[in-house]
Symmetry: C2
Subunit: 332 residues, 2 copies
Amino acid sequence: MAAHYSVVGVGNAIVDVLAQAEDDFLVENGLVRGAMTLIDAQQAEALYQKMGPGRSISGGSAANTIAGIASLGGRAAFIGKVADDLLGQVFRHDIRAAGVTYETPPLTGEDALPTARSLILVTPDGERTMNTFLGACVALGPEDIDGELIAAAQVTYLEGYLWDPPKAKEAFVKAADLAHAADRRVALTLSDPFCVERHRDSFRDLVGGHVDILFANQAEALSLLEVDSTDDVLEGLRGECEIVVVTRGAGGAVVMEGLSTYEVPAVPPLRLVDATGAGDLFAAGFLQGFCQGRHPADAARLGAVAAAEVIAHFGARPETNLARLARDSGVE
Amino acid sequence: MAAHYSVVGVGNAIVDVLAQAEDDFLVENGLVRGAMTLIDAQQAEALYQKMGPGRSISGGSAANTIAGIASLGGRAAFIGKVADDLLGQVFRHDIRAAGVTYETPPLTGEDALPTARSLILVTPDGERTMNTFLGACVALGPEDIDGELIAAAQVTYLEGYLWDPPKAKEAFVKAADLAHAADRRVALTLSDPFCVERHRDSFRDLVGGHVDILFANQAEALSLLEVDSTDDVLEGLRGECEIVVVTRGAGGAVVMEGLSTYEVPAVPPLRLVDATGAGDLFAAGFLQGFCQGRHPADAARLGAVAAAEVIAHFGARPETNLARLARDSGVE
């Protein structure tokens, strides 16, 4: 059956609060540069009080990817949990306004945790250091996985961060199983090297049995397989996943499909302002290209164009119509 | 007595929600391009549902100016009313994080109006069209004017928008009177041509009796005096205000001090992304320059540098340390 959607994403529903910070601020506050660290409500409040003026922009790794796919002209849907509060309304508004189908019911009730937020410090080199309070995301469970939606999408895209909230992994596995039962593809991003460390064995099992398309940056890929080179990563995953995409920042990306590998250079951004969302938007371009039937190297070029757009401004959602940008960049 | 602060600002305490929009969107929704239009809670909700993905960034005209003065290295304070809600916390956090003294108690109570928000549509030419729900701002009154704070600032800076919430004009006049009683200066920005139309007679009385430094863009200035040229504006205001600053966008600014006038060119921005805050940041540079004892033309050059920074990105608060930028731009 023809798929109604290109991609449905399942992930944490988060609003980012981005502030500029000097490198010293990270050191003084014990923050792990470039990583995503989980924090609780009290830590979030304490860090917020110390950080600089913020910009609140909807985020969430898979949600950013899905917004990118919509901007590229793809039909896309998202599953993720917000609370019935102002940030939840903001998240819902923004993803729907981006053209994405989003119907996950919000968490309600007196004791409901608030909508998740990620306090993101952007240092002068454009690197982002994320500190995430998961809030309502911990309530995402298998009951939120809409089987018809999953079956209607060419690809179900899952973020490794979903392994952090305890119930979400059940949602994750259910979504993957439903996708395969409908003869669709399952894609996974490993999200963060520390996330891989926290859940390495589970991720290894997943990648071996449930995942058709794997996205990882170099640090995540090396950590997953506990090896030292991209070649060893590709060797280790050959035969396990249909496609493996390893992103290497300004060093471009390597795509392995079956026995073939392709190297695709990065697209230089107009300027490097904020790396938040670079990997998410690379995945958006690649997946939309994949769904259009492009050659993997060509899909990766679309990813590189989308990533270059998002790092040229604050926030992890595109500010430009990516379909038009791709045409203007000659990767239509 | 030496002033502890350069400038204390009194204005509406607003969080901006900025979204990109095509020109057609303005037409279809009957929005007045380039203007600030007041809307009620229901209109705000309806417009929010229709507009694109947003970025929430603290705003408010005088508040932006004050944040700019702090970024330029000046000691600055702000008086304005938020509610005790999430947006109120955001506003307070951001202005304090910018280095500004801000102690106005929030509006509380069951029936308290929420913190003000301005839904800002940014069209591809960078022009901003603002739709403001004043919310808690209508509760600002003379009781919020801290006489010691006013007396401790070289300049008390007031925004014309304060004439919209009914009680705030009393706060406005009280602040001006206290400033003059302490032998300080009073500055006013006319804010918006429609705001001038709504309150022209009051503004004429104010300018004649209470204002030492007047900021207006060309449209506001022409509307205030109901004349057709900047020359007529300056002629009409000569002798009424110590200093008159008329900004003309890319056409630069004209400054009149006594019998002298100075024309200062605009500083070309790195790129024009979003004009929100251009006038506010010009005022920041000018006022900080004035407080440092600069020549009016030199103060206006500092204003032009600050304005060029803020229009090169989304949002009306500086993203760059303006003191450093001014040094790098040779207007130290």
